[in-house]
Symmetry: C2
Subunit: 205 residues, 2 copies
């Protein structure tokens, strides 16, 4: 009984490790080649995990896709929080574009997986569309918090979000990380304009 409990525990731990390995591999393949271009048999070949075991760990390909996107979402949040280190200031807002620059310069960069997945499956797979919308919505909401903390008017937040989105697609298609630096320069101007007190703004004259 003690041994069986022990065995069950290690099996569960093995399952978790296997699931993680599968999700990492799936993330890499889906991101690099596109979701529809990677079949379950390719995933089996790359992970060395048999189809039977794959389907014991995940009920369907779509569930793998969803978990990959959710893991990316958590990774993105970590990167953003590392960049802004908790609170919103002018420099922390700009640090987001430095984070983007580092990402774009990686040689396996192929754009934002959420944007790519939305273009590929957004119209046919409602769950994917929902995850993408939620991801982008949460980023915009976090930006709004940071902008408020920095003392800038709320209208700045969507502007910064649009710059980040545009930088991601531009860098992906152009194949260079230049767009991150251009977006950063634009963000600097927008932030400074938003922080500069205006006649009709809520700041002091």
């Amino acid at each position: 009984m003690s041994e069986t409990r022990q065995r069950a525990a290690t099996e569960r731990a093995d399952d978790a490790a296997l699931r993680a390995k599968i999700l990492e591999t799936a993330d890499r393949l889906y991101y690099t080649l596109g979701i529809q271009a990677v079949g379950m048999d390719t995933l089996r070949a790359e992970t060395g995990v048999s189809l039977k075991r794959l389907y014991a760990l995940f009920p369907s390909k779509e569930s793998i896709v969803e978990e990959v996107l959710l893991a990316r979402h958590r990774m993105w949040n970590t990167l953003v929080e590392d960049a802004v280190t908790g609170t919103g200031t002018r420099e922390h807002l700009l640090a987001i574009y430095d984070m983007l620059a580092r990402w774009f310069d990686q040689d396996d960069f192929r754009g934002c997986m959420f944007i790519n997945s939305f273009g590929e499956l957004g119209a046919t797979t409602p769950r994917v569309a929902e995850i993408v919308r939620s991801h982008k919505g949460q980023f915009q909401a976090r930006l709004a918090e940071l902008v408020a903390e920095a003392g800038a008017p709320a209208s700045l937040a969507p502007q910064l979000a649009i710059l980040a989105e545009g930088a991601q697609t531009t860098a992906a298609i152009a194949g260079t990380g230049e767009a991150a630096r251009q977006a950063r320069e634009a963000a600097e101007i927008l932030i400074d304009a938003a922080l500069r007190p205006r006649e009709q703004a809520d700041g002091p004259a």
Copy 2:
């Protein structure tokens, strides 16, 4: 002989009309559902053109995809030129974002087809990647011309391009046209900042 030449001419005209109809239908379906989600048989059913005739007019599905993208490229250029009416001024640059707003508010808006196609096929179909890159490159080059005509420094052009790209993906995912107006506001600030003479800029102090 005269009749045969006549017949050949009408046949050629019919072929051209049929090709146009097929390309319009393919554009609508690919744009709405994604390219990989629309098979040749769906295209046959929607156009009423038999598979045999489809393959007589186009050598392959990929060639249809390419022609659809090239037609979209020409349509985009027309929309841009209508908005800027030839020359670049502050107002003409902003008119691009008004054009985007009108586009986003159409109920069949589903983002930029070039971005969507790139996410879906960019990694597996080199010709598609090439067309998308060329399309975005030409838009950036045209923006650079307009910015120069408006008397603003060259660094403004990629910033405006990034705003336009970001607005397209943001609007597509959010499902609202709001991003166009937000991008327009940001563009206004960036253009004014670029046109305002600075100490180290090339304008007068």
